[in-house]
Structure formats: C-alpha cells, structure tokens
C-alpha cells in the first residue's frame, strides 16, 4: 500500500471540560472516499476542522504528505487550501462569494493559482458550470439568485476547478431537498472517480455514506468507535452504538 496523503494520530481537543476529540487517528489514501458519520455533537465536524488546519488540537499531529499541518504556518496552510486541498461547506454561502458572479466564483480560484488569461478562465468556468449541471447562461448571475442546490453545485465547481488532490466536505447535502441530494451525490461520486480525488466527507446521512464512501469511521462523543470497509461496518456493525445508528435508519 502506498503512503497515505493525509495521516493523523492521537488527535485530542477539549472545549473546556467537554472532550470534542479523544485520541482520534485517521488516514486518507490517494483516490479514496472516506466518510465520517455520527450524531450531532459526536465531534465529526471538529475533526474535519482540525484535519484541514482550521483548528489546532490540544494533542496529536496531522500530516499532509509527511508535513505537519499545524506546524507549517498560516501562509503555507492557506496555499494548501488554494491548491492541493478543497473545502466544501455545508452552507454554500460559507464557501461562495455572494457579491461575485457565478463565473467569477469559479474563475477566482483559478486566478489565485496564477491563471491570467481572461478568455481561458471564462472558458474553464463555463466548462465547470456544465460539469455541475448549471446552465452556462447563468454565468454572469450572482449566486444569491440561485437555489440552494445550485449554490451547492457552484461551490463544488469552485472547489474542484483547481484540481485539488483532497477535498474536505462537511455535510454537503445537508440543507437540500431529497431530490437534489441524489443528484449531488451522483455528481460528487462521478467527479471524484473521474479526477481520482480523495474525499473526506462528514455526514449524518448513512445512506449517502454507503453510496459514496470506500471506508467509514463512526464517531461518538469524540471517539472513533468503529471503522472499516463501508458496507461491512453498515451491514455487520460490531459496536453497540453503530448497531443503534444503523438500525435507526429508515430502509430506502
């Protein structure tokens, strides 16, 4: 097996007396989709924030290609976030610039990594809008005129246009209608396969995790209580909490 892209161990973080993460280890290999599931307050979003360098743990390390993410300094981390990493927020308004056109939102990320030719940037933006099924005629419209599902797809286009190697996703289908969720899941899956992306996705949607993820980690009260092959964890859960979680899902 090749070395993982991202490798974390011993992650612990407390908010006052409340442990948000307790001795969490996780790694993500090239081209792999890993899901983190668990109830609200289990620490899954905190884990995503620590892994992506947005929060600093009390203990433990996160390494990207061997480099300590929390020791590399703010500038290096921001560069990573612009190039090798992407982050898709639950609320698309946290990942988009609402006062900038749809095309601008996509083109901006390209310019941040050095693209300068206006025609090329616009062509690339158009091609990405098409990939996420947004009509090219909307390229000059502001994202606030878009529906929630369209905004989320625009955020994905904005994130993927620079061809990151690893994308962090925090409940990407969270606030969306069920009909839109399925389309978005298919989009995330096909794009990650096509581009060979690694994806680390936080979700409380077990069915989404089953369809998207190669591996799954189940979190409860800051700990990883069970992990492994997605279908095995969901079909043959060992930990009492995983059994509860899986048996509580409506069959679909």
């Amino acid at each position: 097996m090749t070395a993982p892209l991202l490798a974390a161990e011993g992650l612990t973080l407390r908010f006052g007396a409340i442990p948000a993460l307790l001795d969490v280890a996780i790694d993500v290999a090239e081209g792999e989709v890993v899901a983190i599931v668990g109830e609200s307050g289990s620490g899954k979003t905190t884990l995503l924030r620590v892994l992506s360098g947005m929060m600093t743990p009390d203990a433990g390390t996160v390494r990207w290609l061997g480099d300590d993410v929390h020791a590399m300094g703010e500038a290096a981390r921001r560069r990573l976030m612009r190039t090798a990493w992407g982050f898709v927020h639950q609320n698309p308004r946290d990942g988009l610039r609402l006062a900038v056109s749809a095309g601008g939102n996509v083109g901006e990320r390209l310019m941040a990594v050095g693209a300068r030719h206006y025609g090329n940037i616009r062509a690339e933006a158009l091609s990405w809008l098409a990939k996420v099924e947004i009509d090219g005629h909307r390229i000059d419209d502001l994202p606030r005129t878009f529906s929630g599902g369209m905004q989320q797809r625009l955020q994905i286009a904005r994130t993927l246009v620079t061809r990151p190697r690893l994308v962090f996703m925090d409940e990407p289908t969270g606030g969306l209608d069920v009909s839109v969720q399925a389309r978005l899941l298919d989009l995330i899956r096909s794009l990650s396969r096509e581009l060979g992306l690694s994806v680390l996705i936080v979700t409380h949607d077990i069915a989404a995790a089953r369809l998207l993820a190669d591996r799954i980690l189940v979190m409860r009260r800051g700990r990883v209580v069970e992990q492994g092959l997605t279908d095995r964890v969901l079909d043959d859960p060992q930990h009492p909490y995983t059994q509860l979680l899986v048996s509580s899902v409506l069959a679909a």
Binding site: A182, R210, S247
Partner: protein, 232 residues
C-alpha cells in the same frame, strides 16, 4: 489446481447489543474450496447460514474466526484479515458478487450502472458502454430501458441489471446469491448459459440456487451448510 477461493475454519456469530447482547452463532468450522472453472452450490435448509457465508466470502460480513483465502494478483490474500483498501482492490479486480437486490445511486442510468465496474477496471468508457448494452440485450432487457435508472423496474428487470453488472467484468471469482429468483423460464435459461460460459472461461463460482433446474444445470457439486447447534 490451486483453489481460487477457500476458507479454513471459518466461523461467524452475531452479537446483538440492542437485544441484551444476544449471541447468535451462524457458521462454524467451514472449510470450502472452489477451483477455477468450477461451480459450487451452497446447500442447506433455509436459515442455515448460506447467505451469511456468501456475505463473509465477499467481506461484507466480517469473519468471526478462521481464514478466507482469495487468489488475487497471483498471490493469496486473507480477506478475513485484509486492510479495507486491499478488500476494495480485490473486489475491483478479482471478486464479483451478484446480490439479490440492486443497490445503486438514484437517477443513474442502467447502462452506466452496468458499465461502471468495467470502467473502474480500466476498460475504456465507450467499450464498457458497448459491452453493457450487449449484455443487457442478451438478458432480454429492452433497449428503451437502458437509458433509465432501474428504480422503477420490476424485480426481474432489476435482477437482470444486477446480473449484467456482475457478469460484465469477467471476474475470476464470482459469488451468486439466488441469481434467478425473480426470473421466468426464458431468462433463467439465459442466466444458465452465462454461468456456464463464465465457468468455461475459468471463473470459480459459488452460488445459492433454490431453483433445482438451474442448480443441476450449473453446479459441479454441492457444499452442505448446516445449522450450528445452539451452544447455549
């Protein structure tokens, strides 16, 4: 000949934590071996653990104890102990599974569902789609359905989509859980032909076939799966 898939002392039990820790032993001491070109039918009463054994062989259920040894890339890997990433690789290249029910992303067209495992094995997209179409036609699924997602299909149609998806890549080892349960006689005959062709090409097949006609037409031998005596 070296078996393509074998188990040694495989055992499986379930512990139901939500039911007061009830312990249910299902399999114990299973020693099964399947050689390339051979089809073994699991045989035993309902509830004896045939489907559980199939799921263990695919790695869908974790083995309680024992080994599940798969011939993969010219070497043996123990699926009972392998890293999830190695299980995924083995499933992509070596080990196929046709379950009774189709489970796919909503809104994806049937043709793409069938082509997907070929594409992930490196078959060019156009070629994979062409093979998917040919196999779906062979299984009598009309062309007008190929572009539709299978969610609204009948049970028999969904089963044929599942079969096409399982047979298209040409896996060296194939697990079939009641592949003809929802099919009429004409389609059963089509599946029998597919299974025998796969065997002729060297595939090792383990199946559960409740249909006696199908079983007799494809199975080289039976493997008894008997209920585990209640330990308690």
């Amino acid at each position: 000949m070296t078996p393509a898939l074998r188990t040694e002392g495989l055992a499986k039990a379930f512990t139901l934590h939500l039911q007061g820790g009830t312990h249910i032993p299902v399999l114990s001491g299973i020693d099964l071996a399947v050689r390339p070109g051979e089809c073994v039918a699991l045989w035993g009463p309902s509830g004896a653990g045939k489907s559980t054994l199939m799921r263990c062989l695919y790695g869908n259920y974790g083995a309680g104890s024992g080994r599940i040894i798969l011939r993969h890339r010219g070497r043996d890997i123990d699926l009972a102990a392998a890293d999830p990433r190695d299980v995924i690789e083995a499933r992509r290249e070596t080990l196929g599974y046709v379950s009774q029910f189709l489970r796919v992303i909503p809104r994806v067209a049937t043709r793409d569902i069938v082509a997907e495992p070929m594409i992930t094995r490196g078959v060019p997209r156009e070629e994979a789609l062409a093979r998917a179409t040919a196999l779906l036609r062979r299984l009598n699924l009309p062309d007008r359905l190929h572009g539709l997602p299978p969610a609204t299909f009948s049970g028999g149609e969904q089963q044929r989509v599942n079969l096409a998806r399982g047979f298209a890549p040409g896996y060296p080892v194939l697990l079939l859980d009641e592949p003809t349960a929802s099919l009429d006689a004409a389609n059963r005959a089509g599946v029998i032909a597919l299974i025998n062709e796969a065997k002729a090409q060297g595939a090792a097949i383990v199946g559960i076939f409740h249909d006696a006609e199908v079983r007799e037409a494809v199975a080289d031998r039976l493997f008894d799966v008997l209920p585990v005596q209640d330990a308690a």
